[in-house]
């Protein structure tokens, strides 16, 4: 049985205790809301997109250490990146969480380092918590679609 140390890595707890990019962005920034219907976690993702680049991102809402730290790391990872790069990153992250996009067999570009996000790899050993980890990522996709 995997131990708590596999899940609650120090970098995860750091992002949980001091989340990056907390807050809201006023319109015309795009917004999306995500819910985990099983546990009641709620998250709002705000993005400011210009020329195909996510210039700014803010996260608000409530959730467990895994959903909150994943959102914090995500916000740091996507800020300043192009939408194409971000979509690829979302796919890579979900692949790491063993969630594959149905009907998409194209190879995943793994050239860039995942950085802090690697710390979330241990979540896969706790299948119930995968939903927590990907909540903000799915919400980001919704926000991109709304942008």
């Amino acid at each position: 049985m995997p131990g708590l140390e596999d899940l609650y890595r120090e970098i995860i707890l750091d992002h949980y205790r001091t989340p990056r990019n907390r807050g809201e962005l006023a319109p015309p920034a795009a917004k999306a809301e995500g819910h985990n219907p099983l546990c009641g976690d709620e998250i709002q993702v705000y993005i400011d997109v210009a020329d195909g680049i996510v210039r700014d991102i803010k996260i608000s809402g409530q959730g467990c250490s895994i959903s909150q730290s994943s959102a914090s790391m995500m916000s740091a990872a996507v800020k300043g990146k192009s939408i194409d790069d971000i979509r690829n990153l979302v796919r890579r992250f979900k692949h790491m969480m063993s969630i594959e996009e149905e009907g998409n067999d194209s190879p995943i570009d793994e050239s860039q380092s995942l950085g802090d996000l690697e710390a979330l790899k241990g979540v896969v050993k706790f299948p119930v918590r995968i939903k927590c980890a990907v909540l903000s990522w799915n919400t980001l996709l919704d926000a991109l679609n709304n942008a």
Partner: protein, 410 residues
């Protein structure tokens, strides 16, 4: 008979399981209960010796199968002290039972502007079907508020019930553990000319139930929370009400006649039991009732009252202000279901930490989001105790919480 939870636990094979060489501490019975060997055996034996269609074949095996199925119905009647056996309708679960009343009675009798009164501590199963009637029929909902300690605030009950057609309420909150004054609520409903529908999903498995004493109109409950299998529940309703209601699901078994130009309903209870039911599960449900009867529901309630009294004091003594337990503090008006907040640890993280000690608790909104909003929480951790949980299980929970906050200290 004297009650000994440690002995009772021996009847439940799953509770003998060890994970990582540590015993299992199952504190999630408000979610679903474990099954005693007696229920497992009854179901296996039935499938090995008696399984056959019910109500529709002439051979001896089918007659035996039908008898066994109907015997379970009769056990249900006695268990809740209903006047008549044909008032016991088998459904999929309590959720379907509540939907049956809402859509059949409500669909036929409610019109735009009609009032249905609910309480703010209801499970989604006793909220959403009524919301659906708001959408389809334009009915209006009123809500009985709660007191600060999680009981129903009945100050303005008569005012709320004025002109209402239905008062539908839980007998025990699945989040707070609160026991509601069912008899008083039924009387208040009737005084206002409303029907009283009782959601007994959490209450019936843990207490003596007497619908006649309550003077209720409908009662919904589920087998899987009372040592029986999942997939089977009960709607009890007064015969004259059930007779006057239109059928809910149409199909086999529920008809007296079908012609090209229409159909005629079967008599109760078949009228509300369309299609082949989960026959073996009904047999298991009957065995669960027999099992609980042998132990005695008074003993179950007494044991749980002692358990919750001990748990409340042990948790408060050890953790003081670090723990907030929602719901009433008086064990007389609460069951052994404890929702709590521990330091600032998110319930999901808390249940993960407890899982290291094989302690199974629920973390989430417990299908009662309006209540969670009142509590100001997105989620709580919930430990719920049953007849097989000894005080050792309480101690295990108390001890396992130690240090749970350190990891996440904000």
């Amino acid at each position: 008979m004297s009650f000994d939870a440690a002995l009772v636990k021996k009847d439940f094979p799953l509770l003998q399981r060890r994970i990582n060489d540590k015993p299992l501490v199952y504190l999630d019975s408000a979610n679903t209960s474990q099954k005693p060997q007696q229920v497992i055996d009854a179901m296996s034996q039935f499938m090995e010796t008696t399984y056959a269609p019910i109500n529709r074949s002439a051979y001896q095996l089918a007659a035996e199968s039908t008898d066994a199925y109907e015997n379970a119905r009769s056990l249900c009647r006695t268990f809740i002290n209903a006047p008549r056996t044909n008032e016991i309708i088998f459904t999929k679960n309590a959720t379907e039972a509540l939907n049956l009343v809402a859509h059949s009675w409500g669909g036929a009798n409610l019109q735009a502007g009609d009032i249905v009164v609910l309480t703010q501590m209801e499970h989604h199963a006793n909220i959403v079907p009524w919301h659906m009637l708001v959408q389809s029929h334009g009915i209006q909902l009123r809500w009985v508020p709660l007191t600060a300690d999680g009981q129903l605030d009945l100050t303005n009950l008569d005012e709320l019930l004025k002109g209402a057609k239905i008062f539908s309420f839980t007998a025990m909150s699945n989040v707070l553990g609160t026991l509601t004054p069912v008899k008083q609520l039924c009387a208040a409903a009737h005084a206002a000319g409303a029907l009283a529908i009782v959601d007994g999903c959490q209450y019936v498995p843990h207490n003596v139930t007497d619908v006649t004493e309550w003077d209720a109109d409908f009662l919904a409950f589920s087998s899987h929370k009372m040592c029986g299998p999942s997939g089977i529940g009960v709607l009890w309703g007064r015969e004259e009400l059930l007779n006057a209601m239109p059928p809910f699901l149409g199909g086999g078994n529920m008809i007296a006649d079908v012609r090209l130009d229409g159909f005629t309903c079967a008599e109760l209870p078949a009228k509300f039991e369309a299609g082949t039911p989960p026959i073996t599960d009904v047999i298991g449900f009957g065995a669960a009732i027999t099992y609980l009867n042998a132990i005695g529901m008074n003993n179950v309630r007494q044991h749980e009252k002692e358990t919750v009294t001990y748990a409340l004091s042990a948790l408060h003594e050890r953790y003081g202000n670090d723990i907030t337990i929602h719901g009433p503090t008086d064990p007389e008006v609460r069951g052994a279901t404890l929702s709590f907040k521990f330091k600032d640890v998110h319930p999901h993280d808390l249940s993960q930490v407890l899982d290291q000690s094989n302690i199974c608790v629920r973390a989430g909104h417990h299908c009662a989001k309006p209540l969670m909003r009142l509590l100001g929480a997105n989620a709580t951790a919930r430990a719920s105790f049953y007849l097989y949980n000894s005080l050792d299980d309480v101690d295990a929970l108390v001890n396992a919480l130690e240090g749970a906050g350190d990891l996440f200290s904000l």
